[in-house]
Symmetry: C2
Subunit: 409 residues, 2 copies
C-alpha cells in the first residue's frame, strides 16, 4: 500500500518550515555538525525513541518536551552523542535547548534537542551556544540540505525524501531526513529521522500514524544488531496546508498515513544502503510462520547472523547458514517443510538442497540487491526485514574510534 505513493524527484520542505546547518567545531575540518529546523507556527508533534535502557541526555530531555505538547524547533548536533556523561549531560542538553530558544524567541520546552556521535565524551556545549545566534540567522526554506548534512556521522550521503498528496483539495507535502550508518538494529536503529509536514493533523491521529509508520519502516531494518542510546524519530505537522485537521479513521487520514509510511520506508531503505561497509541490500522475507511473532523472530535471526551476512558479502548462496539461523531463532520450525529462495530461485526445498544449478543461485546473490525468502509452510505469519552484508570494510571502519577521539585529553 505505502509503496504506491509517489515520491518527489526534487524533495522540498513543506510550507511554513525553515532550516539551516553550520559547522560549529564539534567535528574537525569545518564539517557541518549543527542543524536547526523550525516551524513558523506551533506544530503538532509525535515521536518514537530508542528502547535502550541507557538513554542519552537529549533523548530524556526531548521526551519531556514532547509531553509539553507542541514542539516548534529541532536543534541537532552530530559528532558527539552526549550519552553517558552523568549529570553534566543533562545540563548540557538543557543549555542546548536554551540556546536555540533564546535565538528564536521560543520557550525552552518548545525545542526538541538531539545529539549523535560518540558515546561518553562531554559535549562541547559552549561551541553550540556560540553558534546558536548565527544558525538562527541562516534559517530559510532552502536550508534543508545543509540541515540534512549537518546531522550525519559516518553516513556517506544525506537522505531526503518528499511525498506530495492531496487532502480535501489542499496540496500537502511530507518531507523527511534521516541519518544512520552504524548501530542499526530492529526496534529503532542508531538513527535520527525528522519528518515535517504542512498537513493539519490532530495530536491523536499523528501519534498513531507515527507509531504505525515507524513499526513498518525503521523497526524493520538491521545492519549490525546494535541499538543505540540516541535513536529518535520526530514528526512535526504545522497545518500550513490549510486542510481540515485529520482525525483517526477518516479517508483523508488513510491517504496521509500511506504517504507518511512511504516516506519513512524510503528513508529506512536508504539508511541500510548507506550503512557502514555495506555492499549488499538484502530483504529477508519470512512466509508461512506459525505466528507473526515467529515470523519476526526468524527474519531478525537471519538478518543478524554474522555468518549469513559474511556469505552475502562473498556472493555465496549459502542457504545452510540461513536454515541454521532459522533453527536457533526460537520460532516453531519443521525442518522438512522449510523452503529457501534467493530472488525467487530455490536454494532449498523441504529442508534440503533444491535441484537448482549453483550458477543460477550465485547469479542471484551476486546482485547488489536481492531477496531471501524463507517459507516455513506452517501458518500465515509473515514479516520482512531490510538488512545488509557484513564486510571487511565494516570491521576496518569500526575497530578504532574512542581512543582516536580522546587523543590528547
Amino acid at each position: 500500500m505505502a509503496q504506491s505513493v509517489e515520491l518527489l524527484r526534487s524533495p522540498v520542505l513543506p510550507g511554513g518550515f525553515i532550516a539551516a546547518g553550520v559547522a560549529c567545531g564539534i567535528k574537525d575540518g569545518g564539517k557541518l555538525d549543527l542543524g536547526l529546523l523550525v516551524s513558523n507556527y506551533p506544530a503538532v508533534s509525535a515521536a518514537t525513541f530508542t528502547t535502550n535502557r541507557i538513554k542519552a541526555a537529549p533523548v530524556r530531555l526531548s521526551m519531556r518536551h514532547l509531553k509539553g505538547g507542541q514542539v516548534q524547533a529541532v536543534f541537532v548536533n552530530s559528532g558527539n552523542a552526549n550519552a553517558c556523561n552523568g549529570k553534566r549531560g543533562g545540563k548540557d542538553a538543557r543549555a542546548m535547548a536554551a540556546a536555540a530558544a533564546g535565538a528564536l524567541g521560543l520557550e525552552q520546552r518548545q525545542v526538541f534537542v538531539c545529539s549523535t556521535g560518540i558515546i561518553g565524551l562531554p559535549l562541547p556545549v559552549e561551541k553550540i551556544q556560540e553558534a546558536a545566534p548565527a544558525i538562527a540567522k541562516k534559517l530559510r526554506r532552502g536550508g534543508w540540505r545543509d540541515f540534512s548534512r549537518a546531522i550525519l556521522t559516518s553516513d556517506k550521503c544525506s537522505k531526503i525524501v518528499s511525498a506530495r498528496i492531496m487532502l480535501g483539495g489542499k496540496k500537502v507535502t511530507i518531507t523527511g531526513s534521516a541519518k544512520g550508518a552504524g548501530m542499526i538494529a530492529p526496534n529503532m536503529a542508531t538513527m535520527l529521522a525528522f519528518i515535517t509536514t504542512d498537513a493539519a493533523v490532530t495530536a491523536e491521529e499523528l501519534d498513531r500514524a507515527t507509531k504505525d509508520a515507524v513499526s513498518a519502516s525503521f523497526n524493520c531494518i538491521s545492519i549490525d544488531g546494535d541499538m543505540s542510546t540516541n535513536d529518535t524519530v520526530l514528526v512535526m505537522a504545522n497545518g500550513a496546508a490549510g486542510n481540515r485537521p485529520l482525525r483517526p479513521g477518516s479517508g483523508a487520514s488513510r491517504i496521509f498515513r500511506q504517504a507518511l509510511a512511504r516516506v519513512m520506508l524510503e528513508l529506512a531503505w536508504r539508511l541500510v544502503r548507506d550503512g557502514e561497509g555495506v555492499s549488499k541490500f538484502v530483504t529477508i522475507e519470512v512466509l508461512g510462520a506459525a505466528t507473526q511473532r515467529d515470523a519476526r523472530r526468524v527474519a531478525e535471526s537471519v538478518a543478524n547472523s554474522s555468518l549469513v551476512k559474511c556469505s552475502w558479502n562473498g556472493s555465496d548462496p549459502n542457504w545452510g547458514r540461513v536454515i541454521d539461523a532459522v533453527g536457533y531463532s526460537g520460532a516453531r520450525v519443521d525442518e522438512s517443510k522449510v523452503d529457501i529462495f534467493f530472488n525467487g530461485i530455490a536454494g532449498a526445498k523441504g529442508g534440503k538442497a533444491a535441484r537448482t544449478p549453483i550458477t543460477r543461485l550465485k547469479a542471484a546473490v551476486a546482485k547488489k540487491e536481492f531477496i531471501v525468502t524463507v517459507h516455513l509452510n506452517l501458518g500465515g505469519g509473515s514479516h520482512r526485514v531490510f538488512t545488509s552484508d557484513l564486510s571487511e570494510g565494516y570491521v576496518a571502519y569500526n575497530r578504532l574510534e574512542y581512543a582516536l577521539k580522546i587523543q590528547g585529553r
Copy 2:
C-alpha cells in the same frame, strides 16, 4: 574451584580407550577427516546436544543411541555436517553407524555418530564405509592425536586436555578433545567435544556432572553468536580405573566433577582462542546484576555486539559501545551506577567516563587477553562469558564457502 585442578602437560588417553584418525577423502588433499574412538569395555555415557531446532541427522541418531544406555564407540567425520539432507541424511547416518559396528563387532546402537562441516551437501557415505575396516585396524592408545586432528574443520590446531585425580586410592584420568572455530554461541557452540575417563561412575551421576560442567564451560563461550545444527558434547566413563562407582553427593564425586569441569573449561577456552579470525581472547565478567538471569543477558549482549568486538580488534577501550550493549540487553540497568573496567582499570564509573588516562586504558586492551568487567551495582547476580574480537580475517574467511564446495556439481 574447577580451576584449581591441575592439567597434565602431556595428555594421555585414559585406560581402556583406543582411537584412530584417517583420511577417507571427504576433505581434499589427503587431510584427516574420519575419527574413531572406542572403549574396550561398555561405557556409561552422557551427552548434551545443540538446542537448534534444525538438528543434523547424526545428532538425531546419536540422541536415540544414547538412550539405549551404553555407548562404546564414537565415529566422527569432518568436512560435511550431514545436516539438511532430508531422508537421505538419516539413512547415511545409520549407514555410518553400521559401518563402525560391523568393523568393531558391536551393535549399531552402541555407536555414537557425529558429523561436522558444511550444511546441505549429501554425505559421501560410501567413502566412510570403505574406510571403516582400515580405521578399526589402526586403533591404539596413541591414536588419540590423529583422532583429534580428524575432527577439525576450520580450526588451526587440535585441542586435547587431560586431568588426573585420585579417587579412593585409584588413579583416574579424564581426557577430552574438541573442535570449534566458527558458529560459536552460548548454549552450545558449533562444536564437538569428546571426553573419556576410566572412572567408574553411575549413569545418574555422570549425567548430572556432564550437564553442570557443560553449562559452566561450553555454554559460556561465544565467537559469532551463531549456534550450529551439530553441536555435541559426549562423556564416556568405562570404569577401567577400578574405583568404587561414583554416586551423586559423595566426596569422591565432588573431586570428579571439579576435574571434569576443569577439562571442559580448558577446552572451551581453547575453542575461543582458535576461533576464526580471532586475535583477542576476552572474558566478560558481569557483577552486581539484579538477578543471575540479568547477569547472563548482559554478558551475552556485550559478547555478541559486532561494534564492541570490532573495537577490541582495534585495541580501542570503547566503553561507550559496551554500555550501549548493556542498555539493550533487556536487563535492569541504572545508568548512574554502571562501572566498566578493562583488566581492572576503570573506563567508566557511575555511567560516565572515569578519570583514567587513555594511555592506560589502551595498554589494557592492547593485550592479547583481557577482562572486561561490567559492574551494575544493583544486586548479587554474576556471570562470565569467554569471547573474542571480530576481525577482517573472520569476514574474509567466511565470505565464500557453499559455492566453492559445490563447484562442478
